[in-house]
């Protein structure tokens, strides 16, 4: 039995009170977990005032000249080479994301015409494996943008150079403290947060109404998600909740962990106020309750897609736009994607798709007995050490690029529909104002930020999140193991992992 199993209902109530207290008193630092850290930074954005209204009030209040700022880091006529790997827009991305991506590369080339750039846009689920393999052969890129979960593994192995915003012309105070913390290993910062986001709960109001539910009021708790998903499936014969439980896919923990944290569980103690990452919580009562809720939806009620075990979030898009799926967890970009899909639909499909877009709603991710939670997501930019870079590291080119990408202008534009600028000064730009004016539901997702919990900052975080957690889900959902057995098996795997360090 692990430490956290001893917590009782009183502990949950206490924690909930603490949570509320933090939410009200701190209003709202990046994450509750890092509230204390927030105080140590003098930020140009006042995170203590964070709210959708505050975000709107500061948008468009400052002007920025990206080229001028970056010229102070690396002269604009600098001649050099750059190699860069990242996960950029793909076929599932809204058209606007692809356009902004093209605009960015054109602007980069125009600003630094003498830096020869080799940029590789690598699939989200492939990048980590490819990077590991490349680094074994000293064939990594100079600069890398990696999901927030992935960095510590490589920092701890010594592949990354220490890197802080000041190295490329910005102040650490202008980044989310939680994001910086997620990239700090043994007191050293190894990356610059490029973008940070939290997801939201999306539902189709018409499906809710058709099933006799209130289309304007989504499930407030995870228990209600289970209940409503069953009602929708039983009455309409379609999937209620868009569960994602694919193995080795980042989409899975991003959707399951909010549920697990809400019930009071966790992988380690990442959801506590001062995580030590030494307590395994996968076999806690909260974790088992969350797993049981998933089991109830998949096995007992059969109210979620059967293909959930092989689905990523991309596979939820088509059924959602076809009116065959009622609820899912996703980014604000999902709305833009649905509009794109609707615009491309024809005939009878067009009417259905337009109705789905019309009835699409965003809300807060449901809460559980312990808290409301969401994964504090995003990506960080890293510099790889010279000896592991194919062709050697060009510091001038890398710094110029990091400055350019993380500028208030481009960190905002590149996060257009799916995220938020890592550089908080981006919130003051006119582009942020444009986003708020044009992107429906953006304020909902940004208002989830204070509920964000970062994944554990440990070298084996990717194995826990991308393998052990999905394994646990699959073992329970296929009934290969009972819920208890699956949770205990997962906890043992994490304990073995920690023991083997």
């Amino acid at each position: 039995m692990t430490k956290i199993d001893g917590r009782d209902a009183t502990a949950f109530r206490l924690q909930r009170r603490e949570l509320v207290a933090y939410s009200i008193a701190a209003l709202m630092s990046t994450t509750m977990v890092f509230t204390a850290t927030t105080a140590s930074y003098a930020q140009s954005i006042d995170l203590s005032k964070w709210s959708p209204e505050y975000v709107k009030s500061i948008a468009g209040t400052e002007e920025f000249d990206t080229a001028a700022e970056c010229a102070k880091v690396t002269p604009l006529d600098y001649k050099g080479k750059l190699s860069y790997w990242w996960t950029g827009p793909n076929d599932a991305s809204p058209d606007i994301e692809r356009k902004i991506n093209d605009d960015f590369w054109a602007a980069w080339k125009a600003t630094y015409p003498n830096i020869e750039t080799d940029a590789q846009n690598i699939d989200y689920n492939v990048l980590l494996d490819k990077l590991r393999t490349a680094l074994l052969g000293n064939a990594g890129p100079m600069v890398l943008r990696l999901q927030i979960l992935g960095g510590i593994e490589f920092s701890s192995k010594g592949y990354f150079q220490p890197l802080k915003p000041e190295d490329v012309g910005y102040a650490s105070a202008d980044f989310w403290p939680g994001a910086l913390k997620s990239d700090t290993y043994e007191g050293v910062l190894y990356g610059i947060p490029t973008n940070n986001e939290t997801m939201a709960f999306i539902w189709n109001a018409k499906i809710f109404n058709d099933a006799g539910l209130d289309g304007e009021h989504p499930p407030a708790t995870w228990d209600e998600v289970v209940k409503d998903s069953k009602i929708i499936h039983d009455k309409l014969g379609i999937a209620g909740y868009g569960m994602v439980a694919k193995q080795n896919a980042g989409n899975t923990p991003f959707r399951f962990m909010p549920q697990m944290w809400a019930y009071g569980g966790g992988t380690l103690d990442e959801s506590t106020d001062a995580p030590t990452y030494e307590t395994v919580m996968l076999n806690s009562a909260g974790a088992k309750a969350a797993l049981q809720a998933s089991y109830d939806m998949y096995v007992r009620d059969k109210s979620v897609p059967v293909s959930a075990l092989t689905n990523t979030q991309n596979e939820n898009q088509q059924p959602f736009i076809a009116g065959q799926l009622a609820m899912m967890i996703a980014h604000p970009s999902e709305y833009a994607k649905m509009k794109d899909l609707a615009s491309k639909a024809t005939g009878a499909d067009k009417a259905v798709a337009d109705a789905v877009v019309e009835n699409m709603r965003y809300g807060l991710i449901p809460e559980g007995p312990a808290r409301r939670a969401v994964v504090f997501g995003g990506s960080n930019m890293h510099f790889i050490k010279n000896e592991y870079v194919d062709g050697g590291f060009d510091a001038g080119a890398a710094k110029a690029f990091a400055c350019f990408w993380n500028s208030p202008e481009w960190s905002t534009k590149l996060a257009w529909t799916g995220s938020n600028p890592g550089n908080l000064r981006g919130f003051k730009t006119k582009w942020m104002k444009e986003r708020l004016d044009t992107i429906k539901f953006l304020d909902v997702t940004t208002s989830m930020l204070p509920n964000g919990i970062p994944f554990p900052v440990v070298p084996y975080a990717t194995e826990i999140m991308n393998h052990i957690v999905p394994d646990m889900l699959q073992n329970a959902l296929t009934e290969k193991m009972t819920v208890d057995e699956a949770a205990e098996d997962a906890a043992k795997k994490v304990q073995d992992l920690m023991a083997g360090m």
């Binding site: 592949y159 694919k246 193995q247 059967v306 293909s307 959930a308 075990l309 084996y460 296929t478």
Partner: protein
């Protein structure tokens, strides 16, 4: 003359065994021949020999996620013990055997049937032969994605057709079910590789003497008796080679299971090669993955031995 010198040297050195002396003498005698093949041997040592050596070496080390490869920890045979004792090894081995035996057997039988059917002259034979070759020439990656969607548990074409023709009241769950996933993947693999067996066996059928078949017919043998007593014995060698090549390919098969299920759900379609990939590049257990690879290598070498024996036996039979 170097040969004489060499002989004298071996004769005077009791430490060198006669057998070794004989080998060295042969090398010296044929030094020009060996010089000709030396570049090829060097290339083979670099691209085949070194990776094998490195894999074996790595299988004796532990590679935790917080350490670089150069800091790996020596653990002796622990990785082998861990693998052989693990329940997952038994499950994965069973999956691998089912996958290999099922794919090989049915691909061979289907290929044999197709080869026998296409051996006769009939109108459209060329077109049909070309059509049957399509699965073999289609990219395995593309085929896997197409089949993945055909099989999709909610919106797959096969499931939709089954519902439409009232064969099932809901779409069939091919890939998200512990019991149906492996047979479903085997069907795709058979579809992909039966053409290979067909080509091999069609070539084998060319060697069956017509006069023997006619003589058997004159003697009153029916079609089955002609096949079993005349045709099949002539196909024995090529069948052996085909089965062995299919087995080797299936033991090493990666693309179809990896793309379609990644070994899931809950490891139900995990075979050795997907497990090795997952251990190495997903979980960074390079040491354990290497130990798995060494075990697989031993199995493959055993199969390779029988393959070479089958080939050699064929040569000997022809020479005899």
């Amino acid at each position: 003359m170097s040969t004489v010198t060499g002989q004298a040297a071996f004769a005077g050195d009791p430490a060198v065994s006669p057998r070794r002396a004989g080998l060295l003498r042969r090398i010296v005698n044929h030094r020009a021949d060996y010089l000709y093949v030396l570049p090829a041997i060097v290339v083979m040592l670099v691209v085949i020999g070194y990776p094998i050596y490195y894999t074996i070496e790595l299988s004796l080390f532990k590679t935790p996620p917080n350490l670089q490869m150069k800091d790996k920890i020596f653990v002796g045979l622990d990785n082998y013990v861990t693998i052989l004792r693990s329940a997952s090894f038994r499950d994965v081995t069973l999956n691998t055997l089912i996958w290999t035996a099922g794919s090989t057997l049915f691909a061979f039988l289907l290929g044999l049937g197709a080869a026998l059917s296409l051996h006769r002259e009939f109108m459209g034979r060329g077109v049909l032969r070309a059509l049957l070759l399509i699965p073999y020439v289609v990219s395995a990656v593309a085929a896997s994605y197409v089949w993945k969607w055909l099989y999709h548990s909610d919106f797959g074409v096969i499931g939709a057709l089954a519902v439409q023709f009232q064969l099932s009241d809901r779409p069939i769950n091919f890939l998200d079910n512990l019991h149906s996933v492996l047979p479903s993947l085997i069907v795709v693999n058979i579809w992909k590789e039966f053409s290979f067996a067909m080509i091999m066996l069609m070539a084998g059928l060319q060697t069956v003497p017509d006069q023997l078949l006619r003589a058997a017919q004159v003697d009153g043998a029916n079609a089955w008796q002609r096949f079993w007593h005349v045709t099949f014995p002539h196909l024995k060698s090529v069948s052996m080679v085909t089965v062995l090549l299919l087995m080797v390919a299936n033991f090493n098969s990666f693309i179809i299971p990896w793309i379609m299920t990644g070994g899931g759900p809950a490891g139900a379609s995990d075979i050795w090669i997907t497990q090795i990939y997952n251990l190495a590049f997903g979980r960074q257990r390079y040491g354990v993955a290497s130990a798995y690879s060494v075990i697989l290598f031993i199995v493959m070498m055993t199969l390779g031995y029988f393959y070479v024996r089958a080939l050699t036996r064929g040569d000997e039979a022809r020479a005899g």
